[in-house]
Amino acid sequence: MNVALGIDLGSTTTKAVMLDEDERVLGRGITNSRSNYDLAAQIARDEAFVGARFELLRRELNDDAFCKRLEARFRRRQHLSQLARLRETAMRETESERVARIATPLRERLERIFDDMETDAHRRLVAPKGSDFFRDLANSAFSAAATRYADRDVTFEDLMSVFDKAIIQVENTRLDLTFESNIRAALADCGGDDAQARAVDRVVATELNVIGTIGTGYGRQRLPFPKDSIRSEILCHGLGAHHMFPRTATVLDIGGQDTKAIQVDKNGIVTSFQMNDRCAAGCGRYLGYIADEMSMGVHELGPMAMQSTRRVKITSTCTVFAGAELRDRLTMGQRREDILAGLHRAIILRAMALLARSGGIDEEFTFTGGVANNEAAVSALRELVRENYGERTINISPSSIYTGALGAALFALRDARNRRAAA
């Protein structure tokens, strides 16, 4: 079957979306961005293919429960092969000159750490967590195990620096994590019957013929695409939001490095937009710095801010000043929850200014980007929208992080259609 791909190379994450010819989403893929853009794009693309094949399998079998089980097994297989590669790489690191003096005990402990990590792979994959990326999962599991096995001979730091070196290498190699290569083993793990096996075979045999790919996002200049296969993320976000919520008139996207306020017409075509240019205060990275400042994970900020009972008014708009203000307020004895609630509001206030400049908030209003998953940011947004514009329908999709890639895929599909019409 014919499919189109959109790839959004963001500053923190790289996303891919695959559409069928009816503009239905077949598969999505996401990975953390890294300096090797081509590889990040490749991995996201591979993942979108995996997602698409599972979607085809669901269409074949009409058995959601089984597909869910199968997918969980499949994910575990993927995770274990990444883990195996990590283990191998870490062991190689122990041969380096730097650790010669502790090589033997270091190897012993690493073996134990990796054994433990393999044992709780399953639990780790089903537990709720801040991030699904292998780098983060492995990091927290490794560091938990390292805490157990570190001692005076082999310190926690010795172990962690091996991990640091190994993870970089693993991240920058492409492993074979495809559907075709891993699905049968996963099926065996589940004890699938013949009918299911035949369905899997049919899905594996289905050709997914990519008729167009469009790249967008920060790294788009580096994508191995010709210029006419690149679209600005503004247009992609506009069209993607329109596809998810056809009545969208205004889009707010808060991503890692920038915030965009976009107005679209009834066809999802951008009519006006504003971005933050000289200041990063209203964007996702701001939260990253705050999290660093508080030694917390970014995903923990929103839930903590929701615990606030008396929101603190934050006066600094600047990311960095806000960090200083945060420290001052903590020393003054104000509660972290209340300060964080104030910080979330401060971010959204910046976004509100941008929205006003782009032409305000019309009905309906769609909120996308990584920050749209942060409940405290969403709650501040709802409040401020009501204060400034009255009642508005606010759309947030659970897969809003894919909005840009979705728009890119739509452009890819339309371009392919136009090419066909012209031919």
Partner: protein, 423 residues
Amino acid sequence: MSESAHKEPSQLRQKQMIADHFARLARAKQDGKKVVYTFVPGNLTELFHAFGVLPVYPEINALQSGMRQKSGAYIAEAEKLGHSEDVCTYVKCDIGMLKSGNIGPTGEPLPEPDLLVLSYTGCFTFMKWFELLKEEYDCPVVMLHVPYQGDGRITDSMRRYVVDQLRTELIPALESITGTRYDEARLQEALALSARAEDDLVAVLESAKHRPSPIDAYFGGVYYIGPIFTAFRGTQAAVDYYRDLRAEVEDRIAKGLGPVTPDGVLTEEKYRLVVEGPPNWTSFREFWKMFYDEGAVVVASTYTKVGGVYDNGFRHDPERPLETLADYCHGCYTNLNLPTRVEMLARYVRDYDADGLLINSVKSCNSFSAGQLLILREVEKRTGKAATFIETDLVDPRYFSAANVKNRIESYLQMVDQKRRAA
């Protein structure tokens, strides 16, 4: 302009003119010449010529420093003295240059002023700037109070008010520093030369109505306005320069050629834009290239009217010497009220058959920036063409985020493209 964008004969001539002027300045003290520091908007260059006084333009020095990558260090110098981050960067650059030996663009130290003349008070910063310079040089200052065109026209009483100031304040001050009497015939001679050069300049700027446009009326335009807005208006050298320039441009029209840019001749004119706001000088080339890469040519700009507006028919008139100077002071672009500016921009979009409007907003320049968003919305409404907004700075390299600017320009042009396709 020190860096010539290309090496047309007119460009070489301009280079020589500038070199000669700075050589005269370097010798001013030993030649017994008097020096006046003044600003570009609504300047009174002919009157200085009539007294044989040499003008220096601190703004031009600042933008030259920006183009020569020296402004960053100068600004840092001024900030160390306590000038805030929000102060106009021209001022900080000038103050920094002064503190670093006041070396002009040709490497020669600039002579100290014998008089400071402010002929445009619409920019509050100018007043403060000269207050600072007064402290520094301890020389007389003449500040003409020039009324704002609040109702969009110059009334008789406004004109009389400024002429009175010329008679009772500026002319006596010039007489006193030079020891010579005011000679009206000499002024009239200069004014006649001004008018001739102005006719040719207008023809050059209006040549952009052609398709393809033979010039870029913003990036190329800043070179074209150099002589007329600075020391050369009212001289034979300027008359010769504009005559040559006009002939070159007419030749390009005859050959159907696009504008010359630092990266070569623009061969395919994909977009025609009107630009409002000053350029960014620290990344001037890079900024220009972003337009060139997309096949975008600027067909009209308001920055090229910053010294004075000629496209509504104003020419210096030797028959009304002081009145015509007063009109010129009133008539510089930033002294026009918002409705007049909106009307002017909307007219440019229509008359030059442009695809839209791009505003480069500079936070530290209130004269230009106040009300720009309103201008943007209004021009969009009146012309039905898309407009966009970018933020940079005059000469502070910290405030030119190339990736962001490029991203916006690309997004905007893709949006224009979409609009055209939908139409």
